[in-house]
């Protein structure tokens, strides 16, 4: 993996030089990435003459359609059978992610040759403090203070996080630990790709409504630096996991449930880690237990889908940054945080 990463990073050098496409070519390529690119992913890069990348994006689309077809088809044919629903849903989510990411990557890569580079080394500690506004029809609107930090000890990361509502009407505590099998830690990595195994515990209390939920989660998450397919400055994220949940009620027996965890994202880096740097991403989050929860809409289909969102973070100096994010499902979550970190040599 490290070797292949090195090769791809080496490939990315000349590609940045190839990025001298004329503005008119880029406009035409970006338009082609939208139409017919929405149906044939890679159309933008094909227009730019980047046939290898175009083919990879098309393959991504086709694999995505295949996974979606397998997932949704299995759900339809089996009537969402209890014996096979979870892998079928995971396949549908993976396929949808691949389909969307390959399209967004075609549009983005047609419009620019990358606006930034990944962080290849991470600080031992990063901390955040911010505010989130949560609007959920089922609960009172609220503002929550959100704070947490990432502590990295070699390949291990420990990340406690807390969401605190005024008057303690709502409180969500999460402790995640992760082991990074590959990718940037406090030691330099060849590119922005990584793969983690995560274990987490969550306690979410709603004292005013006389209930609380707790969960234990196990998952695998990763990031693929798309420079590996000649799309420098962009990345795709994916994760899959499983959660066991417990619902505690005042004066009534508890319930145990489970939850499929899955997430995908497409994002870009902006700037160089040695100066002002940031990353922007859009994502799909399948979990139904967060503040945003699952997606609802007025028509036939509500409940199964998760939430959608966007996230932007920027390190403005070597130790100070900002994060803004918004997410919509059954509720809306939006807000920002201030970030601080122990400076590192990029």
């Amino acid at each position: 993996m490290v070797a292949s990463s090195a090769v791809c990073v080496a490939c990315a050098g000349p590609l940045l030089a190839v990025g001298d496409a004329k503005a008119d070519d880029r406009t035409a390529a970006t338009a082609a990435a939208v139409v017919p690119g929405a149906l044939v992913h890679g159309s933008g890069h094909w227009t730019l003459g980047r046939r290898d990348t175009a083919r990879m994006l098309l393959y991504g689309e086709l694999v995505g359609i295949g996974a979606m077809g397998a997932g949704f088809g299995t759900l339809y044919v089996t009537g969402a059978s209890r014996k096979i629903a979870a892998p079928a849903i995971a396949s549908a989510i993976f396929g949808t992610g691949l389909f969307v990411v390959s399209w967004l990557a075609d549009i983005d890569g047609s419009a620019t040759d990358g606006l930034g580079q990944p962080r290849r080394v991470l600080p031992p500690i990063e901390a955040s403090l911010g505010l989130r506004f949560v609007k959920q029809p089922a609960f009172a609107d609220q503002a929550l203070v959100v704070t947490g930090f990432d502590l990295r000890l070699g390949r291990v990361r420990v990340s406690p996080e807390g969401w605190f509502g005024a008057g303690r009407v709502n409180e969500r505590l999460r402790l995640e630990t992760a082991y990074r099998f590959a990718g940037a830690t406090t030691r330099r990595a060849p590119d922005g790709s990584f793969i983690d195994v995560t274990v987490a515990g969550v306690r979410h209390a709603f004292p005013a409504d006389r209930f609380a939920t707790s969960s234990v989660e196990l998952g695998v998450s990763g990031r693929y630096d798309l420079a590996r397919i000649h799309l420098p400055g962009s990345f795709a994220d994916g994760s899959i996991g499983y959660a066991l949940m417990r619902h505690d009620y005042a004066g009534a027996p508890s319930d145990a449930t489970e939850q499929l965890l899955a997430r995908w994202a497409y994002g870009v880096w902006i700037g160089r880690p040695s100066s002002t740097w940031g990353e922007v991403s859009v994502f799909y989050e399948h979990r139904h237990d967060g503040y945003a929860a699952g997606f609802v809409q007025p028509g036939l289909f509500s409940g199964v889908l998760g939430s959608f969102g966007g996230r932007a973070l920027a390190w403005l100096t070597e130790d100070l940054g900002a994060l803004a994010e918004a997410q919509i499902g059954a509720g809306i979550v939006a807000g920002a945080s201030v970030l601080v970190r122990q400076p590192v040599m990029p």
Binding site: Y76, V77, T78, G79, A80, S81, R82, K83, I84, A85, A86, I89, K135, Q136, P137, A138, F139, H204, F206, D209, R210, F211, T213, Y242, M245, H247, Y249, A250, G251, A252, P253, S254, D255, T257, E258, Q259, L260, H288, D289, A293, G294, F295, V296, Q297, P298, G299, L300, F301, S302, G303, V304, L305, G310, A326, I328, G329, A330, G331, I332, A334
Partner: protein, 350 residues
């Protein structure tokens, strides 16, 4: 520019979060029609007004109370979906088709208040009702299920917890109701997500409220609209009132989408686990004795917050395979005097 677009998107999305709000507002209007010629008001919206000339209603509970004001001496009143042995407090029965009855009702000074009654409504002896859900595209075959129900004389009425049709169009609902006439007893239905696929929610126009509550033989029944995988906050407020009112009685709550799917990784359930917990916590605190759901096309028996919970989505929609269940409905035996659910049985059709 991108930020402005994102902000506009968020604002639009915010307005789309209250996905069931229009239906709860419509619930409040159901059973109340006022024109220059006639006023009809049904207490608690327990029946929907289908026409005014002649006056025709569809009952959604066993004992609706109807108030009519019109500058005439008599009025002909037809009520669909009544108990076969129902009577009217005032008036002469002029046509009896079992579940549909017509009475000639005299008005005093241009007004009258009438109520539908069942001969056994004050009895506290045990009785049985049935639960059915998720017929969807299988309307042509639902007659099999009704025939089986008709063979059981103990069934007093049927609760239907959503997905009568495939998309909720007017034509589909007309066809569903045409088939429903094969049923001997009334069917009290709330809607499911498959009633939300048309240009408007015809269910409420044709069947009545999506959220309602009634008491029959000292057992409280609450049907809720969870068709959008959520309960509208206004409906949750009604639920709290109905729970309070139902204290001391056996209380049965039915809705289409269950708060929790027994198979959590599938999440054929509320969109928000937190909201699901809130609703279940409220049901437990309110002393609910039984929860009944649809949406999942199989049969499941489990508990939520210690309350027995059953999913019966076996009305004929694409079935959950590999479960060995097939089409099914439930029968529930209740004992009002003992304040007990005596038993819940699954009846297999195929």
């Amino acid at each position: 520019m991108r930020l402005v677009g994102f902000a506009l998107g968020l604002a639009l999305a915010s307005s789309c979060m209250h996905v069931a709000e229009d239906r709860t507002r419509d619930d409040e209007r159901i059973g109340h029609v006022h024109t220059a010629a006639i006023d009809v008001d049904v207490d608690d919206g327990a029946a929907c007004v289908r026409s005014l000339a002649p006056v025709r209603l569809r009952a959604q509970t066993p004992s609706p109370v109807i108030r009519i004001r019109a500058p005439v001496e008599r009025i002909r009143l037809t009520i669909d979906n009544v108990l076969p042995d129902a009577t009217l407090s005032t008036g002469t029965l002029v046509d009896d088709l079992g579940r549909t009855k017509t009475w000639e009702v005299p008005l005093q000074s241009g007004e009258v208040a009438v109520s539908v009654h069942a001969p056994d409504e004050t009895s506290r002896a045990p009785y049985r009702f049935a639960l059915l859900a998720d017929v969807q595209e299988d309307i042509d075959r639902v007659g099999d299920i009704y025939a089986r129900m008709n063979e059981d004389p103990a069934i007093r009425f049927v609760l239907f917890s959503g997905d009568l049709t495939r998309r909720g169009t007017e034509d589909e609902l007309i066809e569903f109701e045409r088939r429903e006439r094969e049923l001997r007893v009334p069917l009290y239905a709330t809607l499911g997500n498959h009633e939300l696929g048309a240009d408007e929610v015809y269910f409420q126009r044709m069947y009545g409220r999506a959220n309602f509550n009634f008491v029959f033989r000292d057992v409280a029944f609450t049907l809720l609209d969870s068709a959008s995988a959520t309960i509208d906050p206004r409906a949750f407020g009604w639920l709290e009132t109905w729970l309070e009112r139902g204290r001391g009685r056996t209380h049965v709550v039915a809705m289409h989408i269950p708060p929790f799917d027994p198979l959590g990784t599938r999440n054929g359930a509320f969109a928000s686990r937190a909201e699901a917990s809130k609703v279940v916590a409220a049901l437990a605190a309110g002393g609910v004795d039984l929860t009944l759901y649809g949406h999942i096309h199989s049969f499941y028996a489990y508990e939520n917050a210690g309350i027995p919970a059953y999913i019966s989505g076996g009305g004929g929609a694409v079935p959950e395979r590999l479960d060995g269940i097939g089409r099914n409905y439930l029968t529930v035996d209740v004992d009002p005097a003992a304040r007990k659910i005596l038993g819940v049985s699954v009846v297999r059709i195929d």
